[in-house]
């Protein structure tokens, strides 16, 4: 019962947050400068064409009504028609075609970041103050302070243009070829993952060190348990909670990184769609992408909270 109430409550909160978020997204796009009709029809458009365009795209009614129609459309999976990015094509179709690519790169980046940080964070904690720790923490500081677009170009220069190991541009959709997607997605995923891996590793190192000083760990050691057994059962498990929480919080940075990286590597994803939409004043496209991102971030946070409460049952109460 506790679980049902907990998860149910969180789901309700998620829906409410998406609703509030959608209003904010809608209003921000309405406040942005530039006229979508002018963007779509060109500067020399005649007034009657502009009027017809506004009528067709629901732009000629009060904004509250525009919002209502938009929201009820979304509830039916209809995000409306694109204005200027792919004119007259359903936005839901554009997003459906692109979302798998974005999710693929995001998940791949997350996995790379988790693997790198588990190794680096653990080594740094176990070898605290030694050379390995210094190297790992310095790399982490570097990773945090490095802009991802810069890293992308360095990776392209070294691994694609220099060594010729990976393509410099282009991405194969996972639906077309899964291995092809892994191969062509590696550099972009690595570029997105670097700052995350750095943050994750530092968090893991700190929480491992903290957990290692807890009384119950000292007690376990004094019972004569093997150090590796103590590490896995008492130190590592307890250190995982802040680590996983941080992963949940950082998901939004993955999406932020994906927006930039998709353009550099030519990945046809939701991030690049959103950028294109913003440049071309395609409000419905930007709104739809923002809502999709919002839902993804909130869902991941929900999953993270559920996982954390499984690890630490106190949290569910």
């Amino acid at each position: 019962m506790v679980w049902v109430r907990y998860v149910g409550g969180r789901l309700l909160a998620l829906v409410l947050t998406v609703l509030v978020g959608s209003v904010v997204v809608f209003l921000v796009m309405k406040a942005a400068p530039g006229d979508p009709a002018v963007a779509a029809l060109g500067e020399s458009a005649r007034p009657e064409l502009v009027a017809a365009f506004r009528a067709k795209h629901n732009l000629d009614v009060p904004w509250a009504l525009q919002y209502g129609r938009w929201l009820s459309g979304i509830a039916r999976g209809d995000f409306g028609l694109s204005l200027t990015v792919a004119s007259d094509r359903p936005i839901a179709g554009l997003i459906a075609a692109r979302l798998p690519n974005t999710i693929f790169i995001g998940v791949m980046a997350l996995l790379i970041a988790v693997i790198l940080s588990l190794i680096a964070g653990t080594i740094a904690a176990l070898r605290r103050g030694k050379l390995a720790d210094t190297i790992a923490t310095s790399l982490a500081a570097f990773g945090i302070s490095m802009p991802d677009f810069w890293l992308s170009y360095v990776l392209i220069l070294v691994f694609a243009l220099g060594l010729g190991l990976f393509p410099a541009y282009g991405f194969i959709a996972p639906a077309q070829s899964f291995t092809g997607a892994l191969y062509s997605g590696f550099l972009p995923a690595l570029a997105v993952s670097a700052p995350l891996a750095a943050v994750f590793a530092r968090t893991l190192r700190t929480s491992l060190l903290e957990a290692g000083n807890k009384d119950y760990v000292v007690a376990a050691r004094s019972f004569g348990f093997h150090p590796a057994y103590v590490f896995v059962h008492w130190i590592f498990r307890n250190a995982l909670i802040p680590y996983i929480t941080i992963i949940g919080l950082q998901i939004r940075y993955i999406l932020g990184g994906v927006v930039v990286i998709e353009r550099i590597f030519g990945i046809s994803g939701v991030g690049s769609l959103m950028v294109d939409g913003a440049f071309a004043r395609d409000y419905p496209v930007v709104q739809a992408c923002a809502v999709v991102f919002l839902v993804i971030v909130l869902s991941v946070n929900l999953v993270v909270d559920v996982v954390c409460s499984l690890l630490d049952p106190k949290r569910a109460r």
């Binding site: 004119s87 007259d88 541009y169 030519g266 046809s268």
Partner: protein, 516 residues
């Protein structure tokens, strides 16, 4: 190390080769199908909304349209219209008579006739169709088709630019099939049918367009079977894709990278001054730009060469008029004293003006780099030379355009791109009735020369009239010309037969190309 040993470098090298060998043919399917696919990256743009010439406005839309269709005419390297679907043209007063090529087939197999030409032009003129390209043909008063291979276009008075407007460039007058358009209805922009060397194979919005060779093309079947055009939004990504071997040709290149790319022996850089003009637009209805002497002083107060270096990284030529060098028949050169940096003469002009002690003015611009830097260099040098107090105001391009239209500005960076005929550069921009004349410039002598040029069907005499008009206009300095920027294409050494034209052409070359 012994011969039998495997070194780490060898391993990395061979595993990379293995990956390349095993992955690429499958995963890069459309990207690398051997010599029969040209991977022609459309760079700097990724939005294509329609492939219907009558509706198209964006450059990348025309990139594709140029491969799918033909016009009655096409443009040569000097921007002179030459016959394409037409076999010959005869001009007689206000009538142009075109003899069409016979045996030209549309992609759907039907034959192109004069009726299709008539249909195409009437569709553009139809108010209900609301074509953004209507103005190109709005001077037509009658379209006559005496037989299947003859078209007669009648204008109210002789109108020389019409031939340019019927070329396969950014005109929208590409010839369509009446039958195919009627069959497709509103979907024609997604299912284009033309007479071009290539037909549409596949189109993923925002991602790529691919074309298939049309075996029935009147110029002979193209050598390259498939054209794959990834839409690459970032120009710099286009460069890395070319260097990394993912594409063979780009449609543009970042100006700042050109000097380095030219040193790279594995690629070819094509460049020439494009069809564009950039200037400072000055509002003659407001102080201080209401005084010609003050405008002339500004024009001589800054160094256009420095501007080309600072803004274009040297990738352009200084402009001393509005007509760019690639419109060979009308280009007046760039050695006019009034457009040459000369602080002493500039100060002398200033002393003669209504504002001998300089003046304040706000120069509008927009964007991050290029347009903003143009304004900054111009303003800084004017202030230094003349002691004026000009300031730069950065806003948004649409706002600048709206303020031009309403006359609510003093000075502004401005420019036009994609204009094809000398008439568009002069009549539209400085004739007292020109629709792009926002600054209120009016000189009856210039007006008269431009009106005569419109009626002059001899290209040589017409060019002379434009040169005279420009020489007259520059004395009034209605706008301050800045520069003409280059157009660029990058290609690998295996690409053969691409000929760059000043209007930044693209798909029209695929028919002549091959891969070695």
């Amino acid at each position: 190390m012994s011969n039998g040993g495997l070194r780490r470098r060898d391993f990395l090298g061979s595993s990379a080769a293995t990956i390349a060998a095993t992955q690429l043919p499958f995963s890069y399917g459309a990207w690398a199908q051997g010599a029969s696919t040209l991977r022609a990256g459309i760079t700097g743009y990724n939005v294509i909304n329609t492939l219907d010439p009558g509706k198209a406005t964006l450059i990348p839309e025309f990139y594709v349209i140029w491969a799918l269709y033909n016009g009655l005419m096409r443009l040569d390297a000097n921007s002179n219209p030459t016959p394409d679907l037409a076999e010959s043209v005869k001009a007689d007063g206000n009538t142009l008579e075109f003899k069409l090529r016979t045996g030209v087939k549309f992609h759907d197999g039907s034959e192109m006739t004069s009726d299709d030409v008539k249909f195409t032009l009437e569709r553009l003129l139809d108010d209900k169709f609301a074509s953004p390209n209507k103005s190109k043909v709005s001077g037509l008063s009658a379209i006559e088709v005496p037989d299947a291979s003859t078209v007669r276009l009648v204008t109210k008075e002789a109108f020389a630019p019409l031939l340019t407007f019927l070329a396969n460039a950014r005109t929208g007058t590409q010839v369509l099939s009446r039958k195919a358009v009627s069959a497709a209805g509103d979907d024609f922009g997604k299912k284009p049918v033309g007479t071009g060397a290539y037909s549409l194979k596949d189109w993923v919005p925002g991602e790529r367009v691919s074309l298939a060779a049309f075996s029935g093309y009147f110029g002979g079947a193209p050598k390259i079977a498939t054209i794959d055009m990834p839409l690459i939004a970032e120009e710099s990504s286009g460069v890395t894709a070319l260097l990394g071997g993912q594409i063979d040709l780009t449609s543009t290149a970042p100006f700042a990278d050109i000097p380095n790319l030219e040193k790279n022996a594995s690629i070819t850089v094509l460049k020439q001054a494009g069809l564009n003009c950039r200037f400072v637009s000055l509002n003659h209805r407001k102080a201080p730009f209401d005084d010609p002497a003050f405008r002339r002083a500004c024009s001589m107060a800054f160094d256009r060469n420095a501007l080309v270096r600072a803004v274009l990284f040297g990738e352009g030529v200084t402009a001393h008029g509005l007509i760019p060098p690639s419109i060979g028949y009308a280009y007046g050169g760039n050695n006019r004293p009034l457009c040459t940096y000369d602080p002493a003469k500039a100060k002398a002009e200033l002393a003669k003006s209504k504002y001998p002690n300089g003046a304040e003015a706000e120069i509008l611009t927009w964007g991050q780099s290029w347009w903003k830097r143009m304004a900054e260099v111009f303003v800084a040098q004017c202030n230094q030379t003349l002691g004026t107090k000009f300031t730069v105001q950065v806003t948004e391009a649409n706002t600048v355009f709206q303020r031009h239209k309403s006359g609510d500005y003093q000075g502004s960076i401005w420019g036009w791109l994609g204009l094809l005929d000398a008439d568009e550069y002069l009549y539209d921009i400085i004739h007292s009735k020109g629709w792009r004349n926002f600054y209120g410039y009016s000189n009856p002598k210039v007006d008269d020369l431009l009106e005569r040029a419109r009626r002059e069907l001899d290209q040589g005499k017409r060019g002379a009239l434009y040169k005279e008009a420009e020489n007259t206009m520059i004395e009034d300095m209605p706008v301050v010309p800045l520069f003409v920027s280059n157009v660029h294409n990058l290609m690998t050494k295996k690409v053969q037969g691409f000929k760059q034209l000043p209007y930044s052409n693209w798909g029209d070359q695929f028919a002549n190309m091959s891969l070695s």
